[in-house]
Symmetry: C2
Subunit: 455 residues, 2 copies
């Protein structure tokens, strides 16, 4: 009994497929693909040369080609789509789920989209989807759903399902609308099955279902579905007219995609648009260089602070003071990023928002003082063993308290300001944090040194 | 038509509820809870005093109390459970979903668990769940499922569903087993509805369904379900006997929980066990202090490196060199964490594993050289304007190339070594990375300075 195909099995399939394709044995290659599930098909497909990929898209049954294009990432799809003819593409797009087809058309030149739409059987289904942004609820929904009426009986609803019988999608909620298409209720398939066949749907449907507006962010849709354990979420326009359905499988993808984005950005880079193994080193460099340079430029402020004090502090003392610089900056940076990560995650799970800025700051300020006090002891001990001077050790300890307090305060407030300004808090926090905390930290340290060491 | 209850509405409900509870008007409070969905009930409940919470758990219908305990986090549940009597607890646990009930019992003293199990109606359903680890597939599954037989007809299966009719859980896949309880197939509810009532299940079921072993990690279950768009996943023992079902709503929770954990750890702290707003400052300090101290201790290596060179370099030159220290360390740390975040995310989405270590290193090494070359130009320009000395600028630029190359190499290989050793790569990467990159970076910088400046 097979479960997921293991990594090594997939590698073997890829090897075998490459041999078969080298021999131009396309009918065998098609058989291999037909035996796989969509996610595995796409992974195998992704390992082939572009010319082999194009040849396969032309040869495979359009259902399989559609499955593959649905699973590949957007950039790869855009590249491939440019290489096949309008008729071939239209044949494949007709088999794709409407939401995925709309995403594909979103990356195609507007003039070509018009030609393609004219060639499609499902033009009417697809056209309304093209007006929604990719990352909105409307961009995530599919129009391939069955809407029922309140006075239908359970038996009639089941007959309607038989007649409709979509090949791929499995919807486990059915939606009930009135004569104007306004959403009136949601019908759980399990309740439909066990209901008396003559019952009207209005007696077994749930009224006041959860819904989302087409313009809302896709993350909001994902959170709503996660919070209330929904398998499908109706998308409506401003007049509550039912436009489409978001299904749980798409939401799982959104959650993974957003988690990746947040994670990589916290690391100070931009997310890759392709899987790691197939990303080129130049595209990887492009995703990172901008941030690295920006952080370098803002980081030069630390040097400026040191230059200011350098003029007025004796070189021998300055050299002793310099020993602690990496440690102090590092501790400030660590305390700041601990806070920032906690706050950003609490914001994205809806736990706090910018209205809470003051209470969040007050909490983090106290945590910062506690942490700073603890770290100051460690700093004193380390300092007194390195430089046998109690005043120096006092300078280092007090600097740690100040720096950690400042870092947790900044780390708490900055992400909330970013949220208020409508900017991604993860993106802003890196450079602004490091500039503020590093440079200000050095300023605190050298000022304390001047005061305590009387230099 | 209501959608999610907005934050402000929930705040109003909480205010009203507190007033009602102060007046000891419990019947009104019960009505408020009965009008809410589980996730909202738990959020409101979480804001009340402990004494009010205990009083409510005693007063609410056990179904509502069960819903609340299912949604609260484990630590809060453990605290509450200690305050209510065995009979009251058993009454509530009987209404909980078996997987959630097993999680609750996992945090209760073993002697009390035996007393409770004796009081339960569902003892037989619950006992087998207690042997599985919380974060394994077995710990995530529920035993509340309907297993059918191959030779049953569609009409008989529908009748079995009517008889079973679980109140809360909605399962949209049904599973088919043989006389020994071995998993034989999965039945899609939609196909059951549209099938001829006299068809045997073996003709409409999918054979060879995806499954997972009870001992597998819960993340593996989540990935399998995300990859193949499954709404339910059967859990089997080593002999393929069907033990339970994992449902998609639990997987969505796992994905969010794991994303939070990864994110906070990348920030260098431990995830909070309670929501941010209700975490105490002492518990927050505890989650962070250990890491901060560890990073401080490993960070002292930077000071040791500086002390070594301090003895042999003239203080005036050392002071000039020191200006660039924060900038160089910062750039190395940034380049390293960019790489680490990318690699860890690629590992956790299954894109690469430790077998790829060599090819990953080779890729990152080249990216590191490209980035280093770019940053070296920036470094040269900044340096020549600060200290008017081409040799100094050369030292800084070459140090940047070396440090960035070393940082991307270390950042690529370390997480993969951690994976190989079975350690969470996010946890290891922070301290080890910062030690290796910071201290080694300074060593590279000062060695180059000695060589080029001939000091």
């Amino acid at each position: 009994m097979p479960t997921t195909i293991a990594r090594t099995d997939l590698d073997n399939i890829i090897e075998a497929l490459k041999r078969v394709l080298d021999e131009q044995n396309f009918s065998r290659a098609v058989k291999v693909f037909e035996s796989l599930e969509p996610a595995d098909m796409a992974e195998v497909f992704d390992e082939l040369d572009e010319s082999q990929q194009v040849a396969l898209l032309r040869t495979l049954p359009s259902g399989e080609s559609a499955d593959i294009l649905e699973e590949l990432n957007d950039e790869d799809v855009a590249d491939l789509v440019a290489l096949i003819s309008d008729e071939e593409l239209a044949r494949i797009v007709d088999e794709m789920e409407p939401d995925k087809a709309a995403d594909l058309l979103g990356d195609v030149h507007p003039r070509r989209v018009e030609t393609l739409l004219a060639d499609l059987n499902d033009e009417e289904e697809l056209r309304p989807l093209l007006i929604h942004a990719d990352d909105s609820a409307g961009g995530l929904m599919t129009t391939d759903f069955l809407a029922l009426r309140r006075r239908m009986t359970a038996a009639e609803a089941i007959q309607a399902m038989r007649d409709w019988s979509p090949t791929e999608n499995e919807f486990y909620y059915l939606f009930v609308v009135d004569a104007h298409g306004l959403l009136k209720g949601v019908l759980d398939l399990r309740r439909l099955i066990i209901a008396d066949p003559q019952t009207q749907l209005q007696n077994i449907m749930t009224v006041d279902p959860h819904f989302i507006r087409a313009g809302a962010d896709q993350e909001a849709a994902a959170e709503l579905m996660a919070r209330y354990d929904l398998l499908a979420l109706p998308v409506v326009d401003e007049k509550d007219k039912l436009l489409g359905i978001i299904t749980i499988d798409d939401v799982v993808d959104v959650l993974e995609e957003e988690a990746t984005e947040d994670y990589i950005r916290l690391g100070g880079a931009e997310p890759l648009t392709r899987p790691y193994r197939s990303s080129s080193i130049f595209s990887m460099m492009r995703k990172r260089f901008g941030w690295l340079l920006l952080l370098f430029v803002t980081g030069t402020l630390t040097g400026s602070v040191m230059r200011i004090f350098q003029g007025s502090i004796d070189p021998a003392v300055m050299t002793s003071l310099a020993i602690f610089v990496p440690l102090l900056i590092g501790t400030g940076g660590n305390a700041g990023s601990q806070t920032t990560a906690t706050i950003i995650r609490a914001v994205s799970t809806g736990d706090i928002d910018w209205h809470d800025a003051l209470s969040v700051w007050w909490k983090e300020a106290r945590v910062g003082l506690l942490l700073g006090a603890g770290m100051a002891i460690a700093g004193f001990l380390r300092s007194i063993t390195w430089v046998d001077d109690p005043n120096m050790a006092l300078t280092v300890s007090l600097a740690i308290v100040g720096i950690v307090f400042w870092a947790t305060s900044t780390g708490a407030v900055l992400p909330l300001i970013a949220v208020r300004l409508g900017v991604d808090p993860t993106v802003v926090s890196g450079p602004v944090m490091s500039t503020l905390v590093d440079a200000t930290g050095l300023f605190i340290y050298f000022s304390l040194a001047r005061l305590i060491l009387q230099i």
